[in-house]
Amino acid sequence: MTVETRQGQGSGQNLWRESRARNVRERLVRVVLRACAYVSILTTFGIVFVLFGEAFTFFQDVSIVRFLTETQWTAGFATTPEDGEFGIIVLAWATIFSTIIACVVALPIGLGAAIYLSEYASAGLRRWLKPALEILAGVPTIVYGFFALTFVTPFLQGTILPGIQIYNILSASLVMGVMIIPTVASVSEDAIYAVPRGLREGAYALGATKREVATKVVVPAAISGIVASFVLGISRAVGETMIMAVAAGALAQLTVNPLESMQTMTAYIVQVTSGESPRGSLEYETIFAVGATLFVMTLLLNTIAYWFVRRFREVY
C-alpha cells in the first residue's frame, strides 16, 4: 500500500525502475523473515521428533501402563526393565507440587505488584520500578538455587521449621516463586496498563472508588493478559531446573511433606545427563520418556492458555 502511494510522488522516468528495485528488496525481506520463522518451527519439530522417537524405544521396554500407574521411581537401580519401578507420578508430582507452592507465592504477589505499578504508582516511580522488575527477571536461576540452599533453608531451620531437611522442596519452591514474580508482574502490568483510560473514567464517573476501578473494572478488562502472565509463570515453574537440582535434592519419593527432598522431572534429567549412565542404557532412555511427559504437560498448559486468551480477549 505504502509502495503504491509513494510511487505517485516519483518523477515519471524513474518511476518504473525504482519500484522494481523496491520490489526486489521487498521480496528479499520477505524471504529472510520467512526463513527466521521456519528455523524455529523446524527445530521444534526436530526436537519433538527425537524426543518422542527415543521415548518410543523406552516404552517398548517399559509399558506406558507401568509408566503411568507405578508409584515408585527406581530407574537408577534397575539394570533390566523388570527389576525397577518407573512411576512417572513420583517425578511429576514433585514438579506439580513445587509449581503449586511457587504459584501461591508468585501469582498473587505478581498481580498485586502489577496493579500497584499501573494503577497506584506515580508516573515517576513506575518509570523506575518497571525496568527494575524486568532486570530482576534476568537473574540467572542458579543464583536463586544456591540462595535457596545456602540462605533460605538455614534461615527456616533456625527459625520456624527446625525439622526441615537440607535439601527440601519448600525452600526451592518458595525461591522459585520469588523468581517468577517479575515475569508475572511485568506481563500483567502490560495488560493492565493497556486498558483504555476511557474505561477507568467511565467507572469513576459512576462514583467508583479507586479500588473499585482497579479491581472490578480494570482487572476484568485485562483478564486475558493476566491469565497469559499466569500461564507464563506456571510454565517457567514447571520447566525450572537449576533451583530444583541445587536446592530440592535428588530423592525421588512420593510425599506431600514439603520439608523433605523431592526430585522434579527436570532435576531428574539433570542428574542422569550429568551422571555416569552410558548412552543407550535403560536409565539413559528414561530421560526421553520424562522429557516427553514434560513436553506434553507444557503443551497442554499452553493450549489451555491459548484457548482462554482467545475466548476472553477484549476488544476495547
Binding site: 508516573a123 483504555p196 476511557g198 474505561l199 477507568r200 473514567e201 467511565g202 467507572a203 469513576y204 464517573a205 459512576l206 462514583g207 467508583a208 472508588t209 473499585e212 472490578k216 473494572v217 476484568p220 478488562a221 483478564i223 477484549e314 476488544v315 476495547y316
Partner: protein
C-alpha cells in the same frame, strides 16, 4: 432504610419536576437564588482550569438550571471538555489537572475540602464522547454502578427501567447476558447512558455523546434527551449546531479570542436568543457557521 432509592425513583417518574426538591433531603430548599434556579441546578463561579502550568479555561461563571438541557458549544480546543469535567471533579482523574473557583450543586459547594469526589460523581454522572462500556455483560454494565452505590432494590427492574429510559431496551432485552462490546457504537453509547441513569444522579453531563454516531442513533439519543430532562438536569457539549438548537434550553458559547489564551465562556443565554439574536458577534458567526 426500607428502600429510599426506590421511592425516590418512583417519585421521579410520577411527579412533576418542581416537586422533586421535597423528596430529597439536604440539597433542596433554602436556595436564595432567583426564581429560575431550582435546588438541583448548578451554580459555577469564576471557574478556571489548568493542566500543569497551562491554563485551559478561565473565569467561567454560569447557572445551570434544573430540569433543563444546557448545551455547550464552541470551536475545538476552547476548553468545553475541560470545563464539563470540572463540574463533577472528573478532572482530578487526570494527572496534573486542577481547577479553581466555586461549583455548587443545589446549595452544596462540591469543591469544599470535606467533599468526597466519589460521592459527588454519584450525584453528577457523566457520559463520554467515545462509548466506553465495561468488559461485562449488558446487564452488568447497567447494574454495576448501581450495585457499587449500594442499591438494594430489584436490580432487574432497575436495569430494565434504565435501558428503557435510554431507548435501548427493545434492542437488547433478549441478549442481556451478551457482552457490551457486542453492540454497535450507537447502542454502546445508549448503554453508557443507561448505566449512568441507573445510578440515579441528579445531573447528567454529556461530552459530545453523539459525535461518533450515525443519524439514526443520534436521533434516538436526542429523543432520549427530551425524556431525560423530565427527571434530570442535563449539560451537553456538542459540535452540532442543529442539535444544540433542537434539544437545549440554554446555550453557552466557549471561545478563545487570541491563540494561546485560555478558553472563556463568551456568551451564555437562552438557546433561542443565542441562535437568533446573540449579543456578541463571535457567537453569531459561530452559530451561523461562518467559522469553526
Amino acid at each position: 432504610m426500607a428502600n429510599p432509592r426506590r421511592t425516590k425513583e418512583e417519585q421521579k417518574v410520577t411527579e412533576a419536576p418542581q416537586n422533586r426538591r421535597d423528596t430529597k433531603k439536604g440539597t433542596g430548599g433554602a436556595s436564595s437564588d432567583d426564581a429560575g434556579a431550582s435546588a438541583f441546578g448548578m451554580r459555577i463561579e469564576n471557574l478556571s482550569a489548568h493542566y500543569g502550568s497551562f491554563k485551559a479555561v478561565t473565569d467561567v461563571s454560569m447557572d445551570i438550571r434544573a430540569n433543563k438541557v444546557t448545551a455547550l458549544i464552541g470551536p475545538s480546543g476552547c476548553g468545553k471538555s475541560t470545563y464539563i469535567r470540572c463540574l463533577n471533579r472528573m478532572h482530578e482523574v487526570i494527572p496534573g489537572a486542577r481547577a479553581e473557583g466555586r461549583v455548587r450543586l443545589g446549595d452544596q459547594d462540591i469543591y469544599a475540602r470535606d467533599m468526597d469526589p466519589v460521592r459527588i460523581r454519584r450525584r453528577i454522572g457523566m457520559v463520554f464522547q467515545k462509548p466506553n462500556p465495561f468488559s461485562k455483560s449488558i446487564y452488568e454494565n447497567v447494574a454495576w454502578g448501581a450495585r457499587i452505590n449500594g442499591y438494594k432494590g430489584d436490580m432487574d427492574e432497575l436495569v430494565e427501567h434504565s435501558l428503557k429510559q435510554a431507548a435501548l431496551w427493545e434492542e437488547v432485552k433478549d441478549k442481556l447476558k451478551k457482552s457490551g462490546y457486542d453492540l454497535s457504537g450507537g447502542q454502546q453509547q445508549r448503554l453508557c447512558i443507561a448505566r449512568t441513569l441507573a445510578v440515579e444522579p441528579e445531573v447528567i453531563l454529556m461530552d459530545e455523546p453523539a459525535s461518533a454516531l450515525d443519524p439514526v442513533s443520534t436521533q434516538k439519543i436526542e429523543d432520549t434527551m427530551d425524556q431525560l430532562k423530565q427527571s434530570y438536569t442535563v449539560v451537553i457539549v456538542t459540535h452540532n449546531m442543529q442539535q444544540a438548537a433542537r434539544i437545549s434550553d440554554y446555550t453557552g458559547f466557549f471561545y478563545i479570542e487570541n491563540m494561546g489564551d485560555p478558553g472563556r465562556l463568551w456568551e451564555f443565554d437562552e438557546t433561542e436568543k443565542m441562535f437568533s439574536n446573540p449579543d456578541r458577534k463571535e457567537t453569531e458567526d459561530y452559530v451561523t457557521g461562518r467559522f469553526g
